[in-house]
Amino acid sequence: MATKIRILSICGSGVVTSSMVASKLKDLFEEKGYDAETVEANSSEVESCCSRQQFDLIAYASPINDNCGIPAFNAIGLITGMGEDEFMEEAIAALHKAGK
């Protein structure tokens, strides 16, 4: 049974790049045995998203001011393909720390 996680994917417009990142994350986490649900938003919506829902991780392609206490990682490496492994290692370490 795959562990369910919820990821907030952030980019400048909350549309294009965050959708690319989100679809990539779903694939990568599936390989690692997670069932990832994603929410796409722009960088000014982080706080309001976090007040409405619980997230396990934030992946950002646009700088964020506040991570609301949620482990947040720069997602550029997922788009360029360079730094994908590092992203996943750090993200999974953060999930393990949270008991997921």
Partner: protein, 150 residues
Amino acid sequence: MLSKDLIRLNLDVKNREDAIRTLAEDFVKAGVVKESFVDAVLEREKKSPTALPAVAYDVAIPHTVSAHVLTPAMNVAVLKHPVEFQQMGSPDITLHPQVLFMLAISDPKDQLTLLRRIMKMLQNKELLNRIRDAKTKDEIYDLLKPVVEE
């Protein structure tokens, strides 16, 4: 989606704004975006830059929110001289894109396959090099057809 009118070879631009304006106006002429797209994409690039240190060389993927888009499309410009863009997610880093891919996305859920293919293209060193080194628009068109085709 992609037509030869939306491909620019050896584009000679002074700076980032000049480059983005040229491509955005090509989109307007092709009827794939509203006129408001031009200012929106310029503004968006200032606030949230879109350059990426891609595997072959720096690229940029200027885009903006769907409200300004009529039909999904992509255009491509191979620059005569790289111009300065800021890196996506790290605006304090300056990159020098050699190729620009401007995106007009009207519905990211509907166009997810396209977005995934574009991301794959950005990770394909050989394909990126062939796009940059292409001698004709036809060559670029043929290289990108598999990316943008339904």
